[in-house]
């Protein structure tokens, strides 16, 4: 008890910058994660704007090919490791203790540390833009031997990835420790909100896959500087082995990026349909099944490296099999809406757009999984369209949905609904103008990662760029909505949304510094349908 009091005292003491540097409070750290992620979203986004600007017309107008390659590489690294992953950790920090009826995360000091690694890691990574030889330009997948041609930036890239990995693992450990030790009495595992469930599974994926990445990049480092030849055929190594190791991390990674999104959408749709989530337990099992399958499909990212027939068949079958549990989830969301009583506030709009557009990304994903046809699709804009549908209109749209959904809880104010809807419609229309034509570009033969293209690809590239500029500009509106909401607005009730259920809505808006200093009344834990 006295320790808790001392802790409160400490929180009250620090102000200004020191408060944020030394904070061990899950909400403060969650806020830091989210603001950091938003910053990175704009830095990575501006790189995407450079890419779309160069591709607006055939010919090289603005940047040189090497810098263009740096842009695609850095855009991917920043968006994956800087924008989406920290955003999910931010949501986890804010929401998991509140959702399970705990006062804070289990390991608050580790929590502080895992956040504060990030800004340094990204300073290191971004500083490479100003180094001789330029920023890494071998693609975020870092395939050797190409990546070994990176200049002075190389060790910075490797160590930035080590830092990011350490931060992610610490965050994952914290989530697991919190959920397994700090649930309120009555909060059984099968009563956990789905966001918590998807995050536990994500945390296990992180712990299992990040060390694999760390190993792979360390081998790159020793290959470059210490004379090893893990990935050099001339020295008895194998460049394809890197791809196997990388994608053994990389495929679970894509589910790390998307599983929490499933959790958020599973919270939002029932709320605004005013109807319990359909098939709660099948949602949990489907998430588990997807996580398991994610470890045995990795080679579908590299069908063209020349695998034996048996390998190609195995990875094709396992890959298309993922459609079954993913389909179950989509059907469950539609069934949740069915015979509901729906309203369409901004979070619901984003969640509905998520269901449709993520499913389109799933369709192209299944097509890509069909090995013989992938020999055509592989490394074209069809792939680019696919993963942007699942990552932008999938993960990022879910992040937007979640932000609008919980923003009133976090700030105590309602956001401006009109602006929110503008943000939604502008984003949804422009993101489709941006990415849909890329399917056509890929099918008609445009490879990815090229700064200039044959003239038959001009029209769709121009359309895509226009969509890109509008999408990019629309996100400024998002910042406006968030800032306005933090600074003031209509007072939010505890309940916020009419159909909302779960422990977070029993707390005041904004919640007190320590969420549940006393365990919530077990009868208030309904669970099982969110």
């Amino acid at each position: 008890m006295s320790e808790a009091a001392a802790h409160d005292h400490h929180d009250a003491q620090s102000t200004g910058l020191m408060r944020w540097l030394t904070t061990t409070n899950h909400k403060d750290i969650g806020t830091l994660y989210l603001l950091f992620s938003l910053t990175m979203f704009f830095i990575g986004g501006s790189m995407a704007m450079v890419i779309r600007l160069e591709l607006f017309q055939p010919g090289l107008q603005f940047v040189d090919p090497q810098f263009y390659n740096s842009m695609t590489t850095m855009h991917a690294l920043i968006m994956i490791f800087g924008a989406v992953m920290p955003a999910w950790t931010g949501f986890a920090n804010w929401m998991i203790p509140i959702m399970i009826g705990a006062p804070d995360m289990a390991l608050p000091r580790l929590n502080n540390w895992s956040f504060w690694i990030l800004p340094f890691a990204f300073l290191m990574l971004l500083s490479t833009l100003f180094m001789p030889g330029g920023a890494p330009a071998g693609g975020w997948t870092m395939y050797p031997p190409l990546v070994l041609q990176t200049g002075d930036a190389f060790p910075y890239l490797i160590f930035a990835i080590h830092f990011l990995g350490a931060s992610s693992i610490a965050g994952a450990i914290n989530v697991i420790a919190t959920v397994f030790n700090m649930r309120a009495p009555g909060m059984t595992l099968m009563k956990l909100p789905l966001f918590v469930w998807t995050w536990i599974i994500t945390a296990f994926l992180l712990i299992a896959s990040i060390p694999v990445l760390a190993g792979a990049v360390t081998m790159l480092l020793t290959d470059k500087y210490f004379g090893t030849a893990f990935f050099s055929a001339a020295g008895g190594g194998d460049p394809v082995m890197f791809q196997h190791i990388f994608w053994f991390f990389g495929h679970p990674e894509v589910y790390i990026l998307i599983l929490p999104a499933f959790g958020i959408v599973s919270a939002i749709i029932p709320t605004f349909a005013r109807k319990p989530l359909f098939g709660y337990s099948s949602m949990v099992y489907a998430t588990g099944a997807i996580a398991f399958l994610s470890f045995i499909v990795w080679a579908h990212h590299m069908f063209t490296v020349g695998m034996p027939l048996a390998g190609e068949l195995f990875f094709m079958y396992t890959t298309v099999l993922i459609a079954v549990p993913t389909g179950v989830k989509i059907f469950n969301w539609v069934a949740t809406m069915w015979r509901g009583s729906m309203t369409f506030e901004t979070p619901m709009l984003f969640a509905l757009a998520f269901v449709v557009l993520f499913t389109i990304g799933g369709f192209s994903g299944l097509m890509l999984g069909v090995t013989p046809v992938d020999f055509q699709y592989h490394d074209t804009y069809f792939v680019v369209a696919h993963f942007h549908y699942v990552l932008v209109t999938g993960a990022v749209f879910a992040l937007m949905a979640g932000t609008y959904f919980w923003l009133p809880k976090w700030t105590g104010h309602m956001y401006n609904e009109t602006l929110g809807k503008w943000h939604f419609w502008l984003s949804t229309i422009s993101v489709n103008v941006l990415f849909f034509p890329q399917h056509f570009l890929g099918l008609s033969g445009m490879p990815r990662r090229i700064p200039d293209y044959a003239v038959q690809f001009s029209d769709f590239n121009m359309v895509s760029s226009i969509g890109g500029f509008i999408y990019g500009a629309s996100q400024i509106l998002f910042v406006v909505v968030v800032v306005k909401c933090i600074r003031g607005g209509k007072k939010a009730t505890d309940q916020v949304w009419e159909g909302a259920q779960g422990l977070e809505w029993t707390l005041p808006s904004p919640p007190p510094l320590h969420s549940f200093t006393e365990a919530p009344d077990p009868s208030s834990i309904t669970g099982g349908n969110r």
Binding site: P65, G306, D452, D459
Partner: protein, 285 residues
């Protein structure tokens, strides 16, 4: 105004998946290609695409019906059910059956693609930063193939050359890969520095060219013609500027070409030899 109209129609197109086959010539879809394999996977692609469209119609149809009808503003009252084991089993089994219907023809095509035996001839393709080298195994013919000079100067920043004015901009090379039609050609792909990927869409596949490893693929080109492609695996600064051009000709013409190449090569090496001899005599003096 025409400009606007054109782009308006494209914007419309980009939202509608269905006219894909109708507008196949507009650069919207996979090419049918000119090999049995490319045509088979084109059909497979369309087959899977139509299945996806059908699923989309059902799922999104149900969803949009629900969005339109089951809304609070229309006075819809929420039901309270939240699971049904039967329904859940049904929608686990149906996708599974659909996947089997996809996997069977896909397996057949894949087995066909991986059968590289009984080839009539072999071409070894080696990727370098940033050009291709072709070696016609068993003949005297081997050469480098790099981007054609007009494209190469036009693509430089500040060249002030309009790409639309350059014929086959970024898709033309100095030396074409000449191959015979109606022969099973085995391609061996490898690389000398970093990983590249050799891709001509009309042949229906791409294959990575990996230093230290040799990959096998094959093509059986039915129609004479010129087929263009380019490197498909990021290989550094000029990855976008290493095109591939395959020219398929009837067998007789191909044999004549090989002979002509061999003679030219013999002549060149003779000249080189005589130059060397000259040079040596000069140093001897």
């Amino acid at each position: 105004m025409n400009f606007l109209k054109k782009y308006a129609s494209y914007a419309f197109l980009s939202f509608s998946v269905f006219p894909l086959s109708v507008f196949a010539d507009w650069g919207l879809n996979l090419p049918r290609g000119v090999t049995p394999f490319s045509q088979e996977i084109y059909d497979l692609h369309m087959y899977v695409l139509w299945i996806m469209c059908a699923i989309g119609v059902v799922v999104f149809g149900a969803m949009f019906y629900s969005i339109l009808v089951h809304r609070k503003s229309r006075g819809a009252k929420a039901a309270n059910w939240h699971h049904s084991t039967q329904v859940e089993i049904v929608w686990t089994v149906i996708p599974f059956v659909i996947l089997i219907a996809v996997a069977v023809p896909a397996t057949r095509s894949l087995i066909m693609m991986e059968d590289v035996g009984d080839a009539d001839m072999t071409i070894k393709v080696t990727g370098y930063q940033w050009k291709w080298h072709y070696d016609y195994i068993g003949t005297e013919v081997d050469f480098f193939s790099t981007i054609e000079e007009k494209s190469n100067s036009a693509r430089r920043r500040g060249s002030n050359i309009d790409p639309f004015e350059v014929e086959h901009y970024l898709r033309d090379v100095d030396n074409y890969v000449v191959v015979p039609t109606n022969k099973k050609i085995r391609f061996l792909t490898t690389a000398g520095d970093v990983i590249h990927a050799w891709w001509v869409p009309a042949l229906g596949w791409k294959r990575d060219a990996i230093p230290g490893f040799i990959n096998e693929s094959w093509a059986f080109i039915k129609e004479p013609g010129v087929y263009r492609g380019q490197c498909a695996e990021l290989c550094g600064k000029d990855h976008g500027f290493m095109p591939i051009v395959v020219r398929a000709v009837p067998e007789g013409e191909y044999i004549a070409w090989v002979e002509q190449q061999s003679q030219a090569r013999a002549l060149a090496s003779e000249q080189k030899n005589s130059r060397n001899i000259l040079a040596r005599t000069r140093t001897d003096q």
